[in-house]
Symmetry: C2
Amino acid sequence: MSAGSSDDKPNLRSIASLAGVSHMTVSRVLNDHPNIRPETREKVLRVVEELNYQRNSAARALATRKSRRIGVIVDRPVEIGPDSTLRAVEHAAREAGYSVSSVAASPDDDGVQPREAVAYLTAHGIDALCVIAPRASSVDVLRAITDGIPTLIVKADDDPNFLTASVDQRLGATLAVQHLIDLGHREIVHVAGPLDWLDARARERGWHAHLKKAGLHIPPAFVGDWSADSGYEFAVAFDELPPFTAIFAANDQMALGILHGFRDRGIRVPEDVSVVGFDDLPVSRHFLPTLTTVRQDFHALGTLAVEILVAVLEGDDPGKRSRIAPELIVRESTARPRSM
Amino acid sequence: MSAGSSDDKPNLRSIASLAGVSHMTVSRVLNDHPNIRPETREKVLRVVEELNYQRNSAARALATRKSRRIGVIVDRPVEIGPDSTLRAVEHAAREAGYSVSSVAASPDDDGVQPREAVAYLTAHGIDALCVIAPRASSVDVLRAITDGIPTLIVKADDDPNFLTASVDQRLGATLAVQHLIDLGHREIVHVAGPLDWLDARARERGWHAHLKKAGLHIPPAFVGDWSADSGYEFAVAFDELPPFTAIFAANDQMALGILHGFRDRGIRVPEDVSVVGFDDLPVSRHFLPTLTTVRQDFHALGTLAVEILVAVLEGDDPGKRSRIAPELIVRESTARPRSM
DNA sequence: CGCCGCGACGTTACCGGGAACATAGGCTCC
DNA sequence: GGAGCCTATGTTCCCGGTAACGTCGCGGCG
């Protein structure tokens, strides 16, 4: 009931009057301005502590015209890679004092979806935009509508219009293919993701380029849709396919579907065919057979993305970082071909 | 260069002057107030359209003292269940005109983490809080610190302090156990999740209660950590375990680890032992053998959660909804026991 | 015929911060 | 010893909305 304690949420002015200073002094203390006497700072901080004061982020955003918020568009939700990256972005953003608002674009729609996602995010006020796992078509749409705010796309190729960060997809594909070549495989097919996806295309290119470099035959790539189901379909059609002894699948889900399809067809992995995946899902080490795959460090990726964006937002130089290198994890699903 | 067009972002006042009305009229039009002449409305909307005006959400939040934002805490990130639920919450929130800010609590820390998560979210301004896949300890912490804002916890039991929404975990466990009983199994063990997790406990209770009801022997539950690794560890210790013919695993990951461990021990599934999982991951239908499991409708769950929260925020009655019913999906990993 | 009520707006005062500028002491330096 | 400057702080206004209240014209009604 005392006059000093109000039931309302404390604000700069109430802190100020309790500390016997002006609200600007409180503001300066909270923003670490120089030229504040230590005693004054202490006095203010004590009151802040006591009232458990929290800055009103809306007022702050209004006054500074900055929301300290990063919008994220996730193109392929509920899959480990993108989700892990998102989690890492959220974490890194929080560390940097930013918050994150994310929108999952559903995989069905094409083209129109990213536009809505951007509209939604900008309507809620964001300082920067981060796009995870995009399709080429999404990038085109973004090009047209993200004028003004810094935009980073998680994709392998540099882009004059956007900031980029990525795991080196082509290197990952190279590692996978080289591993198979080292084992003695000569006919190595690729089960790709939808080639509109930039990552899918980069992996396909890496596979293609490395086969070419090794002077091996380059069969046409089979295009799946990332799902285990599409891998299964590929595998059960084995009899109708040209011969091969090894498969590089563009992700672990499709690799799993392939394992399943081969079992249903009586084809043994790795005795008859070797299989390599991509991503290293936490469960991939328990597939039967356990899956040889390419591991991506999603955490490092998300962190890198935020570092770059924050650097731009704060006016620093984002610098030239190298892409993040993936790593080959060898397990049971690959072996020397029988014919050797 | 005409005076009418400014480079700055349009605001209520600039719209107003172009439309020849006061800024309050524009505000009223945008907020669908009654008592606006149709012509006036049209006139305003035309200008709004033309300038592609977007409301400043920070100013709005400041004036109304409402952010139209829901904070979400995800306790177990990068696992399909929680992530799917999060996606569904984001989607439903967007439909309802709310935005979402989420924080992933890392699984290592205990207790202190939820506190930080709440602090972070409230600092950025949220109207409501939604907690996904929590541990009992998290709930205790929340009880102490979420005074004021409506909080919904995705958990099975009603709670006097919080709103709740959930898939009926005990029913799911019952379905799994009954399926095994129907096949003729009499010794059914449970590989549980960490019992501090409410969902883990609910599944364990469901298993326990249904065995009791059926008059079957109730062996001690083995407690894993949700990971496939822990399922593997359980399975390879088979020889040291009391005999059983069926396993109900608390999630699909652990079930997968069990399949892997049994293969390494030469135990066949389902010939020697039947295995049931929980969640129905998209990949579970491709495990070898394909996994019998309990499917949860995460999308419905997330939608329900947001419906309840929004109802409370808008002053409506959230009503009494039933829990969402899970569904048993029968695949290859379960069969009649050999001894029958 | 004058008063009332109401529809359709306009005016003003906030919301809670921060930028820009003002001010008041203390110190240096010639 | 006063001009000039730096330090520490206060004043004022503004960000872009919304709430609350004021105003004005018009129709109904006693």
